[in-house]
Symmetry: C2
Subunit: 490 residues, 2 copies
């Protein structure tokens, strides 16, 4: 482990967070609200950040395990400091609640411990939703975009932070790739804000909901979420944008540079859209008797499916009252999740495709042991090592999932609430069913339960391994640093 370098990068990340706090401060000044709750953490972050990053380390080499440790620690520290504005402003009384809410924000989960949000200050609401936007594309991607860092080191960080089984560079330089990703992200967010304002939403509300959509987070400034507006236009705009933010951002880059053919041949994209289409159709038929209109049923089905598969968690209706079949589809979609390289969570469509194709190929081999069969994904053959990686992901995911349910069941909530609370947190969705349904919240869990769910949210957002490996004893062992030396280029 290159501890000096880990400290250095985390120091830089804390400085970035201090800078990000300037935005809610401006909002506070504009609405004449308290600035202090943001100023104190910003000062603390600046001080600690400078302390950690003042001395450039002699050795800047980073191994994969350093990347994992940096990502895990950075997200934990960001959440601990990001929780301070909630605590200092008195919006929540317990610091654990503040941590839960902040982790839920950064991980784009959108699970809340607040029974109602409309009494919160504007600046606090802004910060709460802005964490979604920051967490959606990832804070280390942001750091790579703006800090000078060598490609090799950036790659380890990117791989640990960007969702999906594989991460590729779009352009030769890593920092340019990060800039392109953030550029597309910013422009799409702005387009959504404009569309929402054109539909009659206030600029503030439009920002809040665009942040929630872009990060596929799900925090709203209305108690009834998007359902509060009772406006089909907003349902459709937000519904479509959730789907868009659930698509691999590389595809947008390919569209921009005229490689549309690659986009239309994307296996993951078509599977994703196919799952969305089939689910919307099935739910529309299932709930039609409730809403007495195919149009309304279609709109509610589309919005809820779009919200759940992208793991956003906005709701226009209380889907906990829907028939079992529709609820079962939504629960299944919670696990599928969005596309790799998007801001969405879950297992990811690409992993599901690889798992299904591998299983079919393996079963075919049982029937015809001598047949040669290669599993192909996105037109390319996948090697056994990649398949093993996806299998390991699935296994560890299930182990953490089942372990979390066992621990959380100690709280005594009913099994549906316990099961979907863990599912909603580990898949970064937000609402589940039962007591944590679209009109419920997570306040009833004990502080330990909330910390467990916060861990699950981080596990989900960082795709398991950075968080789990933080507990490996060997990652903290101090070894003689005889690794390859490299000139400091940071």
């Amino acid at each position: 482990m290159n501890n000096r370098m880990i400290q250095f990068v985390i120091g830089k990340i804390l400085l970035v967070e201090a800078a990000l706090l300037l935005l809610p401060m401006l909002v506070a000044l504009f609405y004449r609200e308290q600035v202090i709750p943001f100023l104190i953490p910003a000062v603390l972050l600046t001080g600690l950040g400078l302390l950690l990053s003042l001395r450039t380390p002699e050795q800047t080499g980073l191994f994969a395990r350093d990347g994992l440790a940096i990502v895990a620690l950075a997200w934990i520290f960001m959440s601990l400091f990001g929780a301070l504005p909630f605590y200092l402003s008195g919006s929540m009384h317990s610091y654990v609640d503040c941590i839960f809410e902040t982790v839920s924000g950064f991980t784009t989960t959108g699970a809340s411990i607040l029974p109602e949000v409309e009494s919160l200050g504007r600046a606090i609401l802004f910060w709460r939703s802005f964490t979604h936007w920051v967490g959606g594309m990832g804070v280390l991607v942001f750091a790579i975009a703006i800090l000078p860092m060598s490609d090799g080191h950036g790659m380890h960080l990117l791989r640990a932070e960007v969702p999906g089984p594989t991460v590729g560079k779009l352009v030769s330089r890593m920092s340019d790739t990060a800039k392109i990703l953030y550029g597309i992200y910013l422009v799409m967010t702005l387009v959504e804000i404009v569309l929402l304002v054109l539909g009659g939403m206030s600029l503030f509300d439009a920002c809040i909901h665009a942040f929630g959509t872009a990060g596929t987070g799900g925090f709203s400034d209305r108690n009834l979420s998007v359902g509060a507006y009772q406006n089909p236009y907003f349902d459709i705009v937000i519904g479509v944008f959730m789907i868009l933010f659930g698509i691999n951002f590389s595809l947008y880059y390919y569209l921009l540079v005229g490689r549309a053919r690659e986009v239309f041949r994307s296996e993951e994209l078509w599977t994703y859209l196919g799952i969305v289409g089939a689910s919307v159709l099935a739910i529309t038929v299932d709930i039609a008797p409730i809403y007495h209109s195919v149009g309304t049923s279609l709109r509610h089905a589309f919005f809820q499916v779009s919200s759940i598969i992208t793991t956003t968690g906005y709701a226009t209706v209380n889907f906990d009252t829907w028939p079992s079949f529709s609820k079962a589809i939504l629960v299944a979609l919670m696990f599928v999740g969005a596309c790799a390289g998007s801001t969405g969570g879950g297992i990811k469509v690409s992993r599901v495709v690889i798992l299904v194709k591998t299983s079919i190929s393996d079963m075919r081999r049982m029937l015809h042991p001598n047949a040669v069969s290669t599993v192909r994904f996105e037109g390319k053959p996948i090697c056994d090592k990649q398949i093993r990686g996806v299998h390991t992901f699935l296994t560890v995911y299930l182990i953490i999932f089942i372990g979390s349910i066992l621990l959380l069941s100690l709280e005594g909530a009913d099994l549906i609430t316990t099961f979907t609370a863990v599912a909603a947190c580990i898949n970064n969705i937000g609402p589940g069913l039962g007591a944590v349904g679209p009109q419920g919240n997570f306040a009833a869990f004990s502080p330990l339960g909330k910390l467990l769910l916060s861990f699950d949210m981080l596990v989900g957002r960082l795709e398991i391994f950075p968080m789990v490996l933080l507990f490996a004893p060997s990652i903290w062992k101090i070894r003689p640093r005889i690794k390859f030396r490299q000139r400091p280029n940071l």
Copy 2:
């Protein structure tokens, strides 16, 4: 596919089933009940069996895919004919219900559509429980034991029928291995019958409960299952025997031939006993406030854990009323299941151990990419092909599990009932929670729902692949038979 040979073996299996029907016929004669409901299927089975197996096929070569097809078809035909006594005796009015009950019997699930069983005739109750005993060790294992068949062919059948990731021969000849397994099985069943009779149970009831325990099935002739006796002695005898029948039968053979060291070094055995011990302890503490006595809590916890992990499904209390933590543990145990090579169902302890060890090894490799690490199980290194097999098993298992829940949710039962109904059937347990809890039954599902659950029970008992591959188009393609010729030795 060697269709002639498949027909021939299935013909022999049907003759075996005809012979097995003689036992309930004797019971019917003894209690002066109807013999006709057993006689008709016995005659039909004999006729069809002779027709199929009269002409010895010229080519007796069997490929792995032939073995899979034989096992799947044999179990389906056995269930269709085994259901006739229930139908002809008028015990159940719908043939689908009879199929469900018979599949539940042969697969040692123990799920019932009967709201009460105490009004059934003795011979029908005997046949219902005897299917557990036959299905527990497997009907093809029985066929291999009594029919002269070459080792190579028997191996394909054994591999498709005996639970667990690997199947080994105990002795050099396959038919001797099968005889040893059935011998141990028979002796253990007899010992349990004697112990139950010594405790004051009638011989008939003792047979019923010993069949249910030995096959880890769970059918009882009492509406309240083992709980009806209110006798701690029976709880302990049946509880201990369930644990014993959940152990790999090879270990008993090793004990018999004096290779006790291998038994005490068995990784799967110790993990299995460790899981049982930890679960009993945790549940005892959790339910102690309900029963006001540590002894009673311990006994109920032990019996229920033993019943669920071995996938038997007997109950002494209605565990659906227990706290969430205890219920969550029981649901988790439903998936773990018993040891490979036992009569129990579920994913199997050995697969769980391999999955966990592989995950830890793979994560270690993320931290130390150059470290050499081999996954070892039972003292031997496991190759990547075996690991891939376990991963494929888990993936297909999950796909069928989720698909079944989605389809069954169309019936409109609540999600806990739907989820645990599928879990209880695919893991061959019997009772779930909610409407299918220990004091409920499966009668409320539609005929299609019952057929789906019957499919799931067969999927669970035959460990997925024989049933799934039955749907592969290529298994039914007629190909020119240019495969290796072999002298008929059957």
